[in-house]
Structures are given as structure tokens and as C-alpha cells.
């Protein structure tokens, strides 16, 4: 039923290859996300109770919590 509105042709080869590529890149994708969430948890700790100061997990810039 969803394909009713697929007015563009996704292409047989394109569907097959994207499934293969997605399978491969999902491995580093998974680990990157795992690392990011772990690092994020650790980096939030030093700021203690000041939740409003919590730093985004992607922020690697000069944050006050970053040990030099």
C-alpha cells in the first residue's frame, strides 16, 4: 500500500546495493553511537548538579568540563 505513492522508480539494483551498503555501514554506525553515548555520559558528570550547563555529546570544543 505504501508503494502506491512511490512515483519514482527506486531501481532494482539500487534497492539491492543500498541494503548491502546499509548492512555494512550500520556496524561503524552502531559503535560510533555507542561511543558517543558513553562519552556523553562521562562528560556530563563533572558538571554535577548544574544540569543546565550540560554539554552536548558532540561538543568537543572548549567546554569548561574538558580536561586539558
Amino acid at each position: 500500500m505504501h508503494l502506491v505513492f512511490g512515483y519514482i522508480d527506486p531501481g532494482a539494483g539500487s534497492l539491492v546495493i543500498q541494503a548491502i551498503i546499509a548492512g555494512i555501514v550500520s556496524i561503524p554506525f552502531f559503535f560510533r553511537n555507542a561511543i558517543r553515548s558513553t562519552v556523553g555520559r562521562f562528560r556530563r558528570k563533572p558538571s554535577g548538579g548544574a544540569a543546565s550547563q550540560s554539554v552536548s555529546s558532540e561538543d568537543t570544543g572548549a567546554s569548561p568540563t574538558k580536561p586539558e
Partner: protein, 465 residues
């Protein structure tokens, strides 16, 4: 049921049966078809419609009366904010196309958060509004099936990955392949043209080279038996889209690419002349006092900024892709939103392409300038491209009703350079010849010599035909 005045369907809006764009009384509307009713309802109820607009990813729109519909069978009519100048992907520089690609992926990411997905990923679904790329196809979203692959993958690769990779790894001019291939650059062609070394770049190996090979291998699928259904988890779909984003972000023009656009910097005239020219152009723009300016032969946009500061929305055309790229990057750095740099050659303007040559309009059909600024340009056309002055005047008249134009005489170093390697077959190229040629199409309103130089700047108004 249709109200007067008559509705006129946009010729480029025919591919997708979910709805279409039309004009009524000069106002732009989009009609949503009955067959798309469920998806439209999901788009609204999921909050995606509002979320995309809140993040400036989708063109703002207003609901309109249902009886404004152009044809029977509408479930909704919306009135999208009009874009003052429609540009096409083959007229964008590398970074403009890259921004459009990343915008498309950002819209997809937000859609995924709302349980929806893009249905297509055409570069023509992106326009530039107030200096920023924005999606204009409000009907590009549908509910995401939990285990389906990303349908627009192929289109995204053909419209964005392939041309960007070719520009980054082969030559910046290859973006113009999009002018030939209205449905995007064929991946087998891109794979053929890319340097062999790109086979070792994971992103391009996957999304261009292997992708092209898979297309070839599966070309006959479905002829004898139904193709096997491909399924894919939501996580894998996210991983694929993340990889596409990384691939696009990793594409960069080689440093040399933008080096030779230093024409504006090597001024052939003095500081006094530059200051005088700036002042004359500024005064003339203020005197015209209108809304839209086209700066033709804009280079990196010195006079585009003057026009913007005088209150104009500016389209800044140049035929050198490196100049357009540099201009765009400089505007980004300055946070400037009023200027749209564009790759276009007035001696060979973008043609109309696609179905019936009406799907994508030619540059001249899209011309909507109130004032045309043509500085240090006419000699490039008249001497560099052998275009008779009368024909140059004719073209300027087609672009807009007011003209600010500079005449650069033969004694000027820039014209001497053009004539250095060729025979001077231009006896009519003189100030008097220029005045005469332009007077058939325009009335000369003002004429000001640039101090400390031999150049003259004219302000002209188009004659009634």
C-alpha cells in the same frame, strides 16, 4: 466548482500524481489529490509539516480555500510562499549543490523522527530563499514503512552524490552535466568519469561505483520473475543516511579550484576610479529605486553588495563557476542573505529543458529584473564573443526595464588584452557606436564618466516596444 479566474498548471509539475502546482490570478497554489489524502493527513498529524517549517527546512505555506483547486478531486489547497527567483541545480556552484544535498538529508532525518520519510530526493525540490536552501515540495513526505529501504536512494545519488563527486574529484564544470541530464547524472557515466582513485574512497566506492555496477547487474530484473523484495531495518536505514551525509560532507573542491577567479582583485584601474565607479553605481541604483536587480557578469559580487545595500534583492550571474563558488562562500561568511549567486553565461544562457522543453524554463524566461547591472561586461560580449552591440542591447532589454551599463573603450587595458591576440574587426566599437546601438532599445537617462579612467557608465530606461 472551480472559481474564476482560470487556473494555470505549472508545466514542470506533472510527474507526481499526489498533487501539483498551479497559478490562479498570479498567485501560486499547490493542490493535494484525493489519492494522497492519507499521507497528507499523516504529514499534518505527525507534526512533521510544522516541524520542518519551524526549522526552515520547508517552504512556509498558508492553507487556502478548497474551491480554489484547479481540478476536481482535491483534499487540500495550500498557498506556498513564492520564491522570487527560481534557479536550477546546474546553475549552482559546488557549495550551493552541497548545501541542497545536506538540506535534503536533514529533512529526511527530521521526517524519520516523526515516523515519516521522503518520497523523492530531486535537486529540483530545493530552492534558495533569503540566501538559504529550502525544500519547496510540500508533498514529498509519506509514512515510513518499518522495514522498507529508502526509495529515493537512487535519485539522491544521481542528483547529488554523482555531480558533487565529479566536481570535487574531476572538474568543477562537470556540474553542468545536470543541464543535459534532467533526471540526474547516470551513475555508470559518473563511475566512468571519476578518477580511478575514488574507488578507494568508501563513500564513492559504495554510492557511485558499486551502485552503478549493481544497476547494471539488476537491469533485467523483473522481466521474467518478480524482483525479490528488499527489506531493511530502521536502524540500517539511519546508518545508510548517516553514511550519505558523511560522504557529502567529505566532498571538497581542490584548493586550486577557486584560485583563478581573482579577476576582481586585479583591478586595472586606480583607487580613485574604483571609488568613483562605486559612487556612480550606488547613485544610479538609488535613482532607479526598485526591488530586483540582476548583476550580470557579477564576478565575486562587489556591485551586488552595493545593490543589496541600496535595498535590492540581487541575482548575481557569472559564467565562471569558480567565481560563483567564491562569491557564494564569501556571502556565507558575511551572513549575507540578499544575494543569489548563479552560474550563467549570457552568451549561452541556460536553455529550457525537460518535457516539451517546458519542464525547466530557460534563463531568459525567468528574467524578472527591475534593473540590470552590466559593469565591465559589454566588451566581453562584443569583442570576446563577437556579439554586435545592437544585439547586446536587445538582450539587456529582455532582462529588465532599467539598465546600468558600463562602456569600456578600446584604449582600456582590459579591452587591449581581449584584442591582443586577434584582429580588430570591431570598427563600430566606440562610445558613439555604443550610444547609437543602445538608443534603439533604450533611452539614455544619465551618463557619467568614471573619474581617472576612460570608462563611462550609463543609466538607461527601456523604450516601449
Amino acid at each position: 466548482m472551480t472559481a474564476s479566474p482560470a487556473a494555470e498548471r505549472e508545466p514542470g509539475s506533472y510527474r507526481d500524481p499526489s498533487g501539483f502546482i498551479f497559478r490562479r490570478d498570479g498567485v501560486l497554489y499547490r493542490q493535494v489529490s484525493q489519492s494522497f489524502a492519507d499521507e497528507w493527513a499523516a504529514f499534518e498529524s505527525s507534526g512533521l509539516h510544522a516541524a520542518l517549517q519551524a526549522k526552515d527546512l520547508l517552504i512556509p505555506d498558508q492553507p487556502a480555500e478548497l474551491d480554489l483547486a484547479a481540478e476536481a478531486g482535491a483534499v487540500a489547497v495550500i498557498r506556498p510562499e513564492p520564491i522570487s527567483f527560481i534557479s536550477y541545480p546546474f546553475e549552482w556552484s559546488f557549495s550551493q549543490l552541497k548545501e541542497a544535498a545536506l538540506l535534503t538529508l536533514a529533512a529526511q532525518a527530521l521526517a524519520a523522527e516523526h515516523g515519516m520519510t521522503l518520497r523523492d530526493a530531486s535537486a529540483y525540490n530545493v530552492q534558495f530563499l533569503r540566501g538559504r536552501p529550502i525544500m519547496i515540495d510540500t508533498l514529498s513526505f509519506e509514512r515510513a514503512a518499518p522495514d522498507k529501504p529508502w526509495k529515493p536512494y537512487r535519485q539522491f545519488c544521481e542528483h547529488f552524490v554523482a555531480p558533487l563527486a565529479l566536481m570535487a574529484h574531476r572538474d568543477g564544470r562537470l556540474g553542468l552535466l545536470l543541464r543535459t541530464y534532467v533526471d540526474g547524472v547516470p551513475l555508470d557515466l559518473a563511475s566512468e568519469l571519476l578518477p580511478r582513485g575514488t574507488r578507494w574512497s568508501p563513500g564513492l566506492a559504495a554510492h557511485v561505483h558499486l551502485h552503478a555496477r549493481a544497476q547494471r547487474q539488476h537491469a533485467d530484473e523483473g522481466r521474467d520473475a518478480a524482483p525479490r523484495a528488499v527489506t531493511m531495518s530502521a536502524t540500517r536505514r539511519l546508518a545508510l543516511l548517516d553514511h550519505l551525509r558523511r560522504t557529502i560532507e567529505g566532498l571538497r573542491l581542490p584548493a586550486r579550484g577557486t584560485e583563478w577567479a581573482d579577476y576582481a582583485d586585479q583591478t586595472s584601474y586606480s583607487n580613485v576610479a574604483t571609488a568613483s565607479k562605486d559612487a556612480i553605481v550606488r547613485e544610479m541604483l538609488v535613482a532607479v529605486s526598485a526591488k530586483r536587480a540582476w548583476d550580470v557578469g557579477a564576478n565575486t559580487g562587489r556591485y551586488s553588495v552595493i545593490a543589496a545595500d541600496a535595498g535590492y534583492e540581487v541575482v548575481a550571474l557569472d559564467s565562471d563557476w569558480a567565481a560563483v563558488e567564491r562569491h557564494h562562500l564569501a556571502l556565507r561568511k558575511a551572513g549575507e542573505q540578499r544575494i543569489m549567486p548563479l552560474l550563467a553565461d549570457l552568451a549561452d544562457p541556460s536553455p529550457a529543458i525537460g518535457w516539451e522543453n517546458r519542464e525547466r524554463r530557460s534563463l531568459l524566461e525567468r528574467a524578472n529584473a527591475d534593473v540590470v547591472i552590466a559593469l565591465a561586461l559589454v566588451h566581453h560580449l562584443a569583442i570576446g564573443r563577437n556579439v554586435p552591440l545592437g544585439m547586446v542591447a536587445e538582450l539587456m532589454g529582455r532582462l529588465g526595464p532599467n539598465l546600468i551599463v558600463e562602456f569600456v573603450p578600446k584604449g582600456d587595458p582590459m579591452v587591449r588584452r581581449l584584442l591582443a591576440t586577434r584582429e580588430d574587426i570591431f570598427p563600430g566599437y566606440s562610445l558613439e557606436g555604443f550610444r547609437t546601438a543602445f538608443s534603439t532599445r533604450f533611452t539614455i537617462v544619465d551618463e557619467r564618466p568614471v573619474e581617472d579612467s576612460t570608462r563611462v557608465i550609463f543609466r538607461m530606461a527601456r523604450r516601449a516596444p
